[in-house]
């Protein structure tokens, strides 16, 4: 949705890449919080699986609507002029745009990790996941924290979508194909560990890239093979805490 939002902003309103980088995540985050407030909230006292099923249904609806409106084929999104071109790093050539994505995502990853692990807000959040009742008794509005966190997560995903738009084509299916890899990353990295997800995400990206070079047939499956090995050796994930 983030990518689509950016594409819509560009083609319908003429708003460029950099404003879209802000507008799209905020808009989508607001949408996410609305969903959380109106629908997901009713399911918290039930099994987590119902939440999963609900979001799966919503994803189907959104994908179907976009597919109807814009077709299943990809829409091209131009790289902003400032970031076109290639730099020579001495040992390899790096397209400027990809370098930009690496830098921005590294900053964001560090920022998220810092916010959750090192700030007061982050410690409140971690306490709220650990024991919502007790935290609420201290006078902290836990439902609001949950909503904001949900919105923040959705916003980050939308931001990733905007950044991915010029690299991949903007299509209704781009999210569905990515989410499965994301699941594998979370399983391998271990849930509840931001650092784990960050390191695993980068490491798996590198491994997938390398497999593409040396043995392209396996590049789609290598992540899942690694996931199987990790599950065999350390079922809680590389960085996960035992639970």
């Amino acid at each position: 949705m983030g990518a689509f939002c950016a594409w819509l902003l560009l083609t319908k309103r003429g708003i460029g890449y950099f404003p879209a980088l802000i507008i799209a995540p905020v808009a989508i985050a607001a949408f996410g919080m609305l969903i959380e407030r109106t629908m997901l909230r009713r399911l918290y006292q039930l099994d987590h699986l119902y939440g999963l099923l609900l979001t799966f249904g919503l994803a189907l609806i959104i994908q179907g609507i976009f597919q109807n409106a814009y077709g299943s084929s990809g829409q091209p999104y131009q790289i902003p002029p400032v970031l076109v071109g290639v730099t020579n790093l001495g040992f390899m050539y790096l397209p400027v745009y990809r370098g930009w994505v690496v830098v921005v995502s590294a900053i964001l990853c560090f920022g998220t990790w810092f916010a959750i692990e090192r700030t007061r807000l982050g410690s409140t959040l971690r306490a709220a996941t650990e024991n919502p009742g007790l935290v609420q008794a201290f006078g902290i509005n836990v439902p609001r924290i949950v909503t904001l966190t949900y919105g923040f997560g959705v916003g980050l995903a939308a931001l990733a979508g905007v950044m991915a738009a010029p690299i991949y084509q903007v299509s209704p299916l781009m999210g569905a194909d990515l989410i499965i890899v994301v699941f594998a990353v979370v399983v391998i990295g271990g849930m509840g560990s931001i650092m784990g997800s960050i390191l695993t995400g980068f490491a798996l990206g590198v491994i997938e890239g390398l497999t593409k070079v040396f043995y392209p047939e396996a590049s789609n499956t290598v992540i899942f093979i690694i996931m199987a090995i990790v599950l065999l050796l350390k079922p809680t994930g590389m960085f996960g805490k035992a639970r």
Partner: protein
Amino acid sequence: VIWNFKEAIGFSARPVLLTAPAAAFAVMVLFFAAAPLFIYPVFLMQVLCFALFACAFNLLLGYVGLLSFGHAAFFGIAGYVCGHAAKVWGLTPELAIIVGSLAAIGLGIVIGALAIRRQGIYFAMITLAFAQMVYFYCVQARFTHGEDGIQGIPRGHLFGIVDLGHMTAIYVVVLAIFLAGFLLIYRIIHSPFGQVLKAIRENEARAVSLGYAVDRYKLIAFVLSAGLSGLAGAVDTLVFQLAALTNVHWTMSGEVVLMTLVGGLGTVFGPVVGAMIVVVMQQYLAELGSWVLVAQGAVFVVCVLAFRRGVVGELGHRLHTPL
């Protein structure tokens, strides 16, 4: 544990006739026996295949509480293996179906053994990831013919005698396989083994503390479910004479979840009713293209928010009998 055989299969002397499930079963059999007179049989056979698939899936989600988002892998791979066996190896249909189901069982053992190491949402994510791996394999492997799928699979002669090219013959065979699978699942659910599965669903920690090897029970249930899904997939392949990528894709996994949810989680007859509803919905919405996705998503949302018991679950609740 030394099991009394009669006890192990849940055999008992109490009268089973005239109970609500027995009546519902009779209605179901009568419906599917009479329906081909009014409804196009191929359509009904599709319903039957999906109904068996959904029942197998429900065995896992409804009775063990494990949400697998990768059941399309078992359905699809069995279809491919069955199709390959019937077309290239020239096996008779019953052998092709067995070979296909065995492939699903083998895959179920591997994926199940890995996936049961995690619980809840992780379990769903892991099964989805492995199913996707199977999908990529099917796109690339030589014997699946990639995007084309295996086409023109011969239905052949059952036991070398009965020509399944006849509509009546294949319909009877499909119905018989469905009923056999359905009764097997019913028997599993109502056996002592099934009681342990329900105990695990309700309170896993307690089942462990009572000394049950929970992981082993889960794995057996997973493999049973995978094998029965494979049976459904293999039969589906023979009916349509085609094994294609759509049967392995994750949307198929989503559809089987939807069928079970609409019909009623953890009810014996729910998946059958759900399969019928979903297949009918797809038939009537097919011309609307991708609006099918929107409709399916909307049904998901409505079911989760307001109709969690499903059609049969709601009915059973009203009648105060589990169906």
